[in-house]
Symmetry: C3
Subunit: 669 residues, 3 copies
């Protein structure tokens, strides 16, 4: 791949096949903006195979060649994300069946059965031909497998596949009955054939079934993707990726990583309207996601899609204010991206996404967006030495999809909302406010190498998580566990005995009850007299308040109100060579900054930059020799930087004295 950051995005010139002038106009604009990469072929199946078995790659071939002539790299998509009409008409089995068991009609995009042998075959044949034809094209740099995999199908083929998957997982139906507690409600199955996927007109209140179904959907999607990869690999060695989505609940992306050469994802935050318009929260929320995707493989990822202007599908197509495009793009880079790519290069002239922001609009004029992109392109070239470097975080926070499926699928303890993501974001902000880099990881991710591990609301323990957490603490790590952790096993069965499961001695306490506070209701966490962290402020608690009995732990904060007044809201315990902290409730944002500030030195982590005001983030990429520090200011006001911050460092971009709102400073350290 190139030495420059990949800069460009999705391009669908099939729309203007009969307007070759538009392609040329686009190329002129590309050069002006410094575009060096385009993603092609995402929606091209109907052109590549206009009728069954007849392939026509002439236009694609022409465009790839034309891009090559202009020095533009191509990320080549397999077109399985949007199939042609003839395929659905001839083979209805490729159409999904909804959870209420209705066969869908052709339409939209994500509406194909991943199990269907016919679909798999047609995709395989086409992918192999693409591999043969373009797998060695000079300017093709990677395979973009399908597009935003997602959704699920409940057709008979999928039911069978699901049953087989369960058969392998459980071995016997008796074991499944036992693990799922099918005795309750008299739902004993006599054989795997008794099982149907969850349905609003059938079983929709069996949480173990629901959980395994979600796992199966991930399994089947990965299996489908693996077949796609195998096909493109037939004649090509190019690296493969697939574009993933923000906090997507439908798939467990941690299961995808092994099949891919590099990770990529699509980021569409609501700058200006999300989180009540608080840009700091938007930035933190993005950062969590960047860190999650980066941590999947611990190497540079691609920002595969983002919107250069406003999306068309959010409640408000709020324009990106000047500077936001650059700040958002460089945030991805700061967290480990080797690309800044957009959906899309040119606005489609009709159809669902015609008002989705693009670099080039229908007028063909030079727009504000285009000018900002041009500046951004310059900035990316300015910092090109950063490309390929990685992030080495000593702190990690667990964000486990399977656990969330189970936790959020459960009835109780707060059906009006558990606020996992909000809680995670507050913790993440607290960690970031210390000026440290953070990995966001699945619970099966190795813990070694981390000095600080935060475990927020990890409802499900599986694959020996408790044992690994014990070892982490025993070996000198700092472990932070919050409420509603260690509740259920991998089948969503509640653990017997003390809770959090397997950690009661590590934390020096056990949970007795958990209270749901209604929206708008709060409790208070007040400093415990003489607490070991020297905490002095009180903080608001909301959403859930866990009540725990201390055994060996010592309280840091205690509840100030209600019948559990005096019970710990936060506590600390020594365990082995390490320390274990417990947080009993969802506290206000400020707590996490104070809390991590008070323990970070004890963890042995050296901040990238310390003393950061709210909204200023610092992160570091390293190529093993040089460190590249990014500082970004997502607050509404300019920040004056301490002269020590970059003193003696080589400034790559931005000013070391003042960081304007949405400004970025990059230096070498």
């Amino acid at each position: 791949m190139s030495a420059e950051f990949h800069f460009g995005g999705d391009y669908n010139p099939e729309q203007w096949m009969d307007h070759p002038d538009i392609l040329e106009e686009d190329i002129r604009h590309f050069h002006r903006m410094g575009i060096n990469t385009v993603t092609l072929n995402v929606f091209s199946w109907a052109f590549l195979e206009p009728e069954e078995g007849r392939y026509d790659f002439s236009f694609l071939s022409f465009v790839i060649k034309r891009m090559g002539e202009e020095g533009i790299s191509v990320i080549l998509a397999t077109p399985s994300g949007a199939r042609p009409k003839w395929l659905a008409a001839k083979y209805p089995e490729v159409l999904r069946v909804t959870d209420d068991r209705r066969r869908m009609l052709f339409g939209e995009r994500h509406n194909h059965c991943y199990t269907s042998p016919v679909y798999r075959e047609k995709v395989r044949l086409l992918n192999e031909r693409l591999s043969e034809e373009f797998g060695h094209a000079e300017n093709v740099i990677a395979w973009h497998i399908s597009n935003e995999y997602g959704g699920e199908c409940h057709c008979p083929l999928c039911q069978d596949a699901f049953r087989n998957w369960l058969r392998k997982r459980y071995g016997s139906i008796e074991e499944l009955n036992r693990r799922w507690n099918n005795a309750f409600w008299s739902h004993i199955c006599r054989s795997f054939d008794d099982i149907e996927s969850p349905s609003p007109i059938g079983e929709h209140k069996n949480p173990s079934l629901a959980l395994d179904w979600k796992r199966f959907v991930t399994y089947q999607t990965v299996d489908f993707m693996s077949e796609e990869i195998k096909a493109v690999r037939k004649y090509s060695e190019l690296p493969v990726t697939t574009n993933m989505m923000y906090d997507y609940d439908g798939l467990d992306y941690s299961r995808f990583a092994d099949s891919l050469d590099f990770i990529s994802w699509d980021n569409y935050p609501s700058w200006g309207t999300g989180f009540g318009g608080d840009g700091v929260l938007v930035a933190a929320d993005n950062a969590i996601e960047h860190d999650y995707f980066r941590s999947l493989k611990n190497k540079p990822f691609f920002l595969m899609e983002s919107c250069p202007a406003a999306t068309n599908w959010q409640p408000y197509s709020h324009l990106k204010r000047p500077g936001v495009l650059e700040a958002a793009s460089l945030e991805a880079v700061a967290h480990g991206s080797d690309s800044v790519l957009f959906f899309q290069m040119r606005n489609s002239y009709a159809g669902y996404e015609k008002f989705h922001g693009a670099l080039i609009d229908n007028s063909g004029r030079c727009t504000r967006v285009m000018k900002e992109a041009e500046e951004l392109g310059k900035k990316l070239r300015m910092i090109s030495r950063v490309k390929g470097s990685i992030v080495h975080a000593e702190a990690a926070v667990i964000n486990d999809r399977e656990s969330r499926w189970a936790m959020e699928g459960a009835a109780g303890p707060r059906n009006a909302g558990l606020h996992f993501r909000d809680n995670l974001r507050r913790i993440y902000l607290g960690l970031r406010s210390c000026g440290i880099d953070v990995d966001v990881i699945d619970s099966e991710h190795p813990f070694d190498g981390y000095k600080l591990l935060v475990v927020p609301m990890l409802y499900m323990f599986r694959s020996g998580a408790e044992q690994r957490l014990r070892e982490f603490a025993a070996d000198g790590g700092t472990l932070v566990v919050t409420h509603w952790s260690g509740v259920a096993d991998e089948c969503d069965a509640v653990y017997p005995g003390l809770s959090p499961h397997g950690l009661a001695d590590v934390l020096g306490l056990y949970r007795t009850e958990i209270d749901a506070l209604a929206d708008g209701k709060t409790n208070t966490a007040v400093p415990a007299a003489g607490n070991k962290l020297g905490m002095k402020r009180s903080y608001e608690c909301s959403v859930l308040a866990e009540v725990a009995e201390l055994t060996s732990a010592s309280p840091v904060l205690v509840y100030g109100d209600d019948f559990y007044k005096g019970y710990p809201a936060a506590a600390v315990n020594s365990y082995g060579s390490g320390r274990a902290y417990y947080i009993a409730s969802m506290l206000e944002e400020g707590f996490y900054a104070d809390f991590f500030a008070s323990i970070i030195a004890g963890c042995g982590i050296e901040p990238v930059v310390s003393g950061l005001p709210r909204g200023v983030f610092a992160s570091r990429r390293t190529d093993g020799e040089k460190n590249f520090v990014f500082m970004q200011n997502f607050s509404a006001s300019e920040v004056i930087l301490d002269s020590s911050v970059a003193s003696g460092c080589r400034i790559i971009a931005g000013s070391p004295e003042r960081l304007p709102s949405y400004g970025t400073l990059v230096f070498e350290k």
Copy 2:
């Protein structure tokens, strides 16, 4: 039955068949808490009949025997509430069809057709076997028929049954056409075969059809239940009950009473979060329901289920604060329950209800809940002489399910909400604030024996209700009728002539119009000059404001605003030897306290205790010789009792001087 209150609840040990130690651990806990009764078999069909026609009662038999050995009584359920998978697989007709005519899949619980001959046959065979096997077991004390009957089925079998039911009800299709006014919208039926149950994809705007369909669903459910009862009665004389639900709109429970030996119901209030967290309203709301179920047979009922901790299915699993468990349980007793039973004895380890509060949780530890249950058990033994006594109320308020079906199913006069239940609760609080007991009755319940009868929003008059109300007043009773009463007949056809139908002369007025006030909009009811009740305050009116012309009545309050200013908001009329009061709107809570306080003496009712502050309730059970008075305080503050309250009385439980928040005083008078 035993001389002690039944204390215990639902127990489903099938879940731990392979863990006999858990059963023994449970028994130890039972003894500690003083548990004397468990309900078994609710969800056991899959174990009792693992395949069609093969019965295996060994585990049930073992558990019943084991309970017997420990001195624990058993309420034995018929397991029809959750059928086994094989039954649905072999006989799809047992699965319900939704109102939009889709056959459901197996799953959940309440999903079986009550009409299906196959389902009825399978249930009959199993129930008969249970009757034979356990109908004379020493410690089995009652049959618990099925579980929370509910829902409806629109399958062809049900359509036929519905048509036959209509045929019997109307005799001829011409009569049905006339009563339903099918002439409107050209919906004349030529025969009963033309009729289909209401459907969102068919007829959903014929209120007479909708009403009769609801009646039919009740009829068919009672019919099904009666077959179940017949089967268990084949070899057993034990009393039968079925567990009913809070204010359940799907069935008219008044039709169930004759088939049952005693009434039981399941109470799951939202202590701490319901009604904005106002415990007084929660308590009043429960009390209405207790009184409703008690009045069905005018004898002691069973609190069959309640939650010892927090439910798992409400928006917030808000913990019961210390004292609430006792107060809520004793409230049932105060209103006539001979039991305090819970769902459930031990938490299931997996499945939908695993986080539903139980006496014993998955940890097996001794919890706060267990300790409170232990105290409650002691209290129940302390007051055991109360068991079997009844409540004799001289006041009644009508809460008629059929009338509500019709009223709430009608389009107009306020589709944004009629607030019947809120209105009822305000009236009930007003009555209770006078310190009197109240029956809550169906409109077909006999009126004799009452001195005060309140008729709030009784939209539908049927079976000669107007004549019975006339007689009640004529014979010296005090009748209170509110707005939107006497509108329609039993087919939901509007009565011709003056309105409220048949009562215009009794009330001395007739309705001319009814105005809907938008949410947040109010009118005022101001004292009529020289009004006979000496009312002096003004009150807020909301929701609906009826405009009436007075004939012989005299105004008590008049509207203060709008074009009907000066029209009566409340009025009084003499009729025969009695008095008839009219209330034209939904007034603020305080009005009903003032109003009933001003008329109660004139009704000739002696309060149980008078001068009660808001939130303190008094009620009385009597065994014909002795009276047992319960005083409970559901306000947030302790109340100092007047020394006269219990002076000279034998105190059974609690202090006669001070009633703490959520405290209970029981004395003999």
Copy 3:
């Protein structure tokens, strides 16, 4: 037709066939109120043709004759709006198929396929018989074709008809693919047979398909209606109409006008609760609709239905306050109606609409409504010389259904709501505050004759709209164009080049971006220094804020905040002999009053009455010789009129000195 205004409404005496006394009672009430017209037969099919092919017109014949004897005219409906049960039972094809492809059951009213040959045939046969039988009855004055046409069907017959319609529209599938941009998402169709109507379980994100489907539904409905008309015309020359609905999104009524002899519509405003209870907005909203329907044929229309009391289907059945019935009825007349007709004459006694307000209620008593109707009847006779006169407006505002379909069906730029109607209402209020009459027109309506043309949010230009707008301005007209205009063509494809399409030079500017403001967020429009309109105030902007680059235009207001501060919020440009104004955002109501006040003189329009306070409306009908001026006050307070207003004029009704709240003054000028 008669020289009097038609006064009466829908009458369905079939409901009381067996109560001939009720018909006679009704007639007595009719005379008391001055009723001279009833609409019969709307829901009578089941009586007219009780079984297939057997017709029985005896009752209808009797009622028409009886009305004739009493001097009452009859508007005769074709009964296709509610078909009999036997028809659906025998020919299921007449039942609609929903968009998710489910065949509906019999029920409700509007549930018949307009394509079905059987349905068309049965309707034709019946209509011809009605034509023959009653087409020359002395007191039958018009045909009321069906009832509130609406809804859509997705059955195979409709799919075929849709494909044929598309075939005619596009000629070739290639052309359709190109116009719809089916290349995007790989949705290329190989033939018209590939196309299915939009469906939630199929294609629901193709805006061009959705738009053409809506057009087809209108086309097919008009086609069905035309067949109905042809049938009644077989033996009759009577004028035909069909009753249309308020701002009905399901049909483009502008396509109906040519088939009808006169327009009629049904008006059910929410007096007292709509628009936060602001009667001025309710009145303005009604007025827009009256003007829209009048403009369809530029001649007197009929108010075919309205509610004399409260409807039964709105959230609140809020009673009409005294005076509202008259004011609302005369508002229709003021805007060009030759009738005041109600739904309905007598309350049905049962069924869905039994609580829908009627002139005669179930009690048969003389009610407040009846007394107000009696007064209204007198007033109508007082002003009868106005009947037949027309409105001649010199200003028009475009309200184009097709454009709204496209605009509101698009994803972006503000899915949380574009607030078209609110924007239109503010503009309309501004125009009316100048005391001028306004036509509300489709974009294909001729522009000649207007001096001022307002084009709010005309997203779609079609049939050369831009050219016609250019000519209007060039020829000396005053053109006002707002944000989000001229975006897309008739296939919802975005125009290339500068925007608003074809008007950039006319307006002297072009759009560069459009920003969506979140609910509750605003910008400000401040006066541009030395602006040509002398505007001095600032106004709040919300919802959408368009950013435009000025070329030749001069700014009137500029944005006060955000990154587009200083960009025009309003601008003016000279073009040819005319002027073109541009408004970039949705401004507060007050702006439009100030803006139009400042330009109205320059337009050369003479107000009917000038200097009107908020809520007072003036309008004028003319018979070519005499002008009839209506002044109405919809504010909450009485208004003292300037003595000059009606000086020297003949007062027909009301006082020329003071206009009470909801009062009307009519004079000849």
